[in-house]
């Protein structure tokens, strides 16, 4: 067994102050931050929660074996003090940090890790994160309910967790940093039963102090938190059921520190034109791509020329204007801030004449009629109309089917939608790794009935390349692995099952009293805001 990362090196990282913000203000302690969201928080159970608004709340309540440096996509150990990966990349041995306590006062032990992962894989938990653990040995039996536990996970002693994989998986440490891998205490889960999501107990920087259903949640600082020095806030209050326009008014009035749903589209230009307000807005990239899927199993999109023609017909700059410039043009499936993104690749350039030629080559000189499914909330129907106009210019007559999210997802999964505009349902990466943009949405595994690969694009050669890339687990060869992924996405672009349109930027507004590096307010992992590290200036 070879140690790929030494615990001493990690100790050095942790000897540093918890986070040194780039902007020089010294963090100060105390205070209550107020945030708002439109939608209610459904659950705070890390095995279940998978929404925009609860994602980073769960991160503040719980921890996993792995974590990220705040405001970045850089992995760092979390509840694991150190870890080792075997030569063949199949065995991960995690050493737990000592003295970590759950909010109920009990000390964390290795059995808790075993319990927590088994719980997510157990089909009765109905976790949307179950599939992430598929590379662990014995997953299939446990996921199907044929075994009580995942055979590949064990705790030889109270401080050691050993996880055996059935295939090498370079993304495995990212999986261990996902919310679904967060550690829960068995006794608290069993005491609360199905209501654990409303009575969460974790090891995180905050604990839940109050939850008035439909109104507010109050998170209170965990004084015993295992990372010394954080969190800075005494508490933060989340008010739910707040219309974004009203949340913005309240923020302007000084009642709200962060409108969690961002600046409403209708107000965006007004806010950004006002210097005082614009200075409170933090802009950041996010691991998001908005794209048009074309069903490659149906004529006319079974012809690659047609799909390329669609790519060339889309005027991305104009579509970005439709959303007030809140995005950058996308050239490929991966967003620019994702490792593995191909720098310098320009994608299909806007060229209507070239597109018409390609259509003629495919035998559609006179164009054709088709349908595009789109989610019915603003700005998606408007974007769909812009796409409709672009395609009309090369002779493709698109009728727009504007439906509720669940209906579009259903049509996409069933393969009945010739085209789908992904807006409102688009892929935002679960973890910052190029693999996460492939399997479910471009790989053969997702191209099944009900899968998220709405193009139904399946290229077995690319699946093989993906498996090969993900078997490179040695961090020293990370560059080689990313080069492979870059190549995979370039091949996807050749086959053009998607027309990537834009990568949305995030804009978070914060009150003037909020401090901490800008990156924390557009954290690529703790979406939308990293509550543990922001603070209120004195």
């Amino acid at each position: 067994m070879r140690k790929l990362i030494l615990s001493t090196a990690l100790a050095a990282i942790f000897a540093l102050p918890a986070f040194a913000p780039a902007s020089a203000t010294e963090p100060s302690y105390g205070g209550n931050m107020v945030l708002t969201y439109k939608d209610d928080v459904a659950t705070l159970d890390p095995a279940i929660g998978y929404d925009w608004q609860n994602w980073s709340m769960i991160k503040s309540l719980f921890d996993g074996l792995m974590d990220y440096d705040p405001g970045t996509t850089t992995l760092r150990p979390g509840l694991a003090e150190s870890y080792e990966i075997s030569e063949d990349g199949l065995t991960y041995t995690f050493k737990l940090r000592k003295g970590v306590k759950f909010h109920n006062g009990r000390e964390l032990v290795a059995d808790d890790v075993v319990y927590s992962i088994n719980r997510v894989v157990n089909p009765t938990t109905q976790s949307p994160g179950q599939g992430f653990f598929a590379s662990i040995e014995g997953y299939d039996e446990a996921a199907e309910g044929k075994a009580d536990a995942v055979a590949g996970i064990s705790a030889p002693d109270a401080e050691t967790v050993v996880i055996k994989l059935s295939r090498p998986d370079a993304t495995f440490l990212h999986i261990m940093a996902l919310n679904f891998s967060f550690i829960v205490p068995q006794e608290a889960v069993e005491a609360a039963g199905a209501d654990f999501g409303k009575k969460p107990v974790g090891t995180g920087a905050f604990k839940l102090a109050e939850w008035s259903l439909g109104q507010r949640l109050v998170f209170e600082k965990n004084a015993d938190y295992w990372i010394s020095g954080v969190p800075y806030l005494d508490s933060f209050t989340v008010e739910v059921g707040q219309e974004p326009v009203v949340a913005l008014l309240r923020a302007q009035n000084g009642e709200v520190d962060i409108p969690g749903d961002g600046i409403p589209p209708a107000k965006f230009v007004e806010v950004m034109k006002d210097e005082a307000q614009a200075s409170l807005v933090v802009e950041g990239g996010q691991l998001h791509t908005g794209y048009i899927t074309m069903n490659v199993t149906q004529a006319p999109f079974d012809k690659v020329e047609v799909r390329r023609a669609v790519n060339m017909a889309i005027n991305k700059d104009r579509i970005i204007q439709v959303i007030n410039g809140r995005a950058v043009p996308a050239t490929q499936p991966l967003p620019p801030s994702m490792p593995g993104y191909t720098e310098g690749y320009e994608g299909y350039k806007f060229d209507q004449e070239g597109a018409k030629k390609l259509l003629a080559e495919a035998g559609y000189a006179d164009g054709f009629d088709t349908e595009m499914f789109v989610m019915n909330t603003d700005p998606n129907p408007r974007i769909a109309q812009a796409i409709q106009q672009d395609l009309k210019a090369i002779g493709i007559n698109v009728s727009i089917k504007s439906l509720a999210q669940a209906n579009v997802i259903e049509a996409g999964g069933a393969g009945t939608a010739p085209m789908i505009w992904s807006g409102g349902m688009a892929w935002i990466a679960d973890f910052p790794d190029p693999a996460n943009f492939y399997g479910p949405i471009l790989g053969c595994g997702g191209a099944v009935e009900g899968g998220w690969n709405w193009s139904k694009y399946c290229n077995p050669a690319l699946d093989e390349m993906a498996a090969a890339a993900d078997s490179i687990v040695d961090p020293a060869k990370e560059g080689e692995r990313l080069a492979k992924w870059s190549e995979i996405y370039m091949k996807v672009m050749e086959d053009a099952p998607w027309a990537p349109v834009f990568n949305e930027q995030r804009f978070t507004m914060k009150s003037a009293r909020m401090g901490g590096a800008d990156e924390l307010y557009v954290d690529p992992v703790s979406i939308p805001v990293n509550y543990d590290y922001v603070f209120i200036k004195e």
């Binding site: 459904a42 949307p128 599939g131 259903e410």
Partner: protein, 306 residues
């Protein structure tokens, strides 16, 4: 009277059964799969099937509906698919806010609508009548979202008289109730006007005037009690209108009622919540109408409950 109430309660139960059946059918044929919403985007077909079985959604329609009813008669509304919480608990936590707003809003509608209707009737055909009726027409057709935001902007943001949304104190209640009051008052003023005009033409009013009673006494003492009957029935119907229109106002004012709960559940195909809220709302409407019908004979002894 007791027999009448019993019969009405039996009818109400039938109505609720019908509502539950129709809603269940609509959710069943909806081209959106709740299991996919639960299973998430990384789920395999096997996971999806396993969840479908656990929730009993793989069963034939009638079995599913039968199971739902069986649980319902035992007082079990089920658990939310996504929140995993008891639907009864979710509704109970939000119902007080909705009921409070319901009472306050209908009071506002009456306070605004009835006087305007009476004034219009007394000035029938004059400019003031035309003006009032035009206003009532505008209020019933005004978009809720715009009116709510406008009131919020003027009275909460600019003038600072009321909090900018929220729940808990009387001050929080004023703007949402007034918004709904303004928007709904038009119905009442129009009905009040036509009912009042009919009554003012009646013989007993002429007799009262001929006896030399003052104008005020005739209107308030004789005309109004007779003209108010259609209003009582209207309130029963209004509860239904209120339930269907409350989502927008709740969302602008951050009011934690069942409208928001329903709206979010519909987006995520959370069937137990949708069923629960629909049934509770239907209950409200049925009870509201029953009360309106029971009150009518107290106001007009000529009405007999049969």
């Amino acid at each position: 009277m007791a027999a009448y109430i019993l019969r009405r309660l039996f009818q109400s139960a039938l109505i609720l059964l019908g509502v539950s059946f129709i809603t269940f059918v609509l959710l069943y044929v909806l081209p959106a799969d709740p299991v996919r919403q639960i299973a998430g985007r990384s789920a395999t077909a096997a996971t999806v099937e396993s969840i479908r079985q656990q929730l009993g959604l793989d069963q034939p329609f009638l079995v599913q509906y039968g199971n739902y009813l069986w649980n319902l008669v035992q007082g079990d509304l089920g658990r939310s698919y996504l929140q995993k919480t008891e639907v009864a608990e979710l509704i109970a936590s939000r119902l007080p806010a909705t009921l409070l707003l319901l009472v306050a809003a209908i009071s506002c509608e009456l306070l605004i609508g009835l006087p305007l209707g009476i004034v219009a009737a007394l000035n029938r055909g004059k400019a003031i009548d035309n003006g009032l009726m035009l206003t009532s027409f505008m209020t019933v057709s005004a978009p809720q979202f715009v009116v709510a935001l406008l009131l919020l902007f003027i009275f909460a943001v600019k003038l600072g008289w009321f909090p900018i949304g929220g729940y808990g104190t009387f001050a929080h209640l004023v703007l949402p109730a007034v918004t709904l009051g303004i928007l709904g008052s038009g119905w009442y003023s129009r009905i009040m006007r036509s009912s009042m005009i009919d009554v003012l033409r009646a013989d007993f009013i002429r007799t009262a005037r001929a006896k030399g009673l003052g104008r005020g006494k005739v209107i308030l003492g004789h005309a109004l009690p007779n003209a108010i009957l259609p209003i009582i029935a209207m309130i029963g119907i209004d509860i239904g209108l209120f339930m269907s229109g409350i989502v927008v106002v709740e969302s602008v004012f951050g009011w934690p009622g069942i409208g928001q709960l329903a709206w979010q559940a519909i987006q995520r195909v959370d069937i137990p919540i949708i069923m629960g809220v629909t049934l509770v709302s239907a209950c409200g409407i049925v009870i509201g109408n029953l009360i309106a019908d029971l009150i009518s004979p107290l106001i007009d002894p000529r009405i007999k409950l049969r």
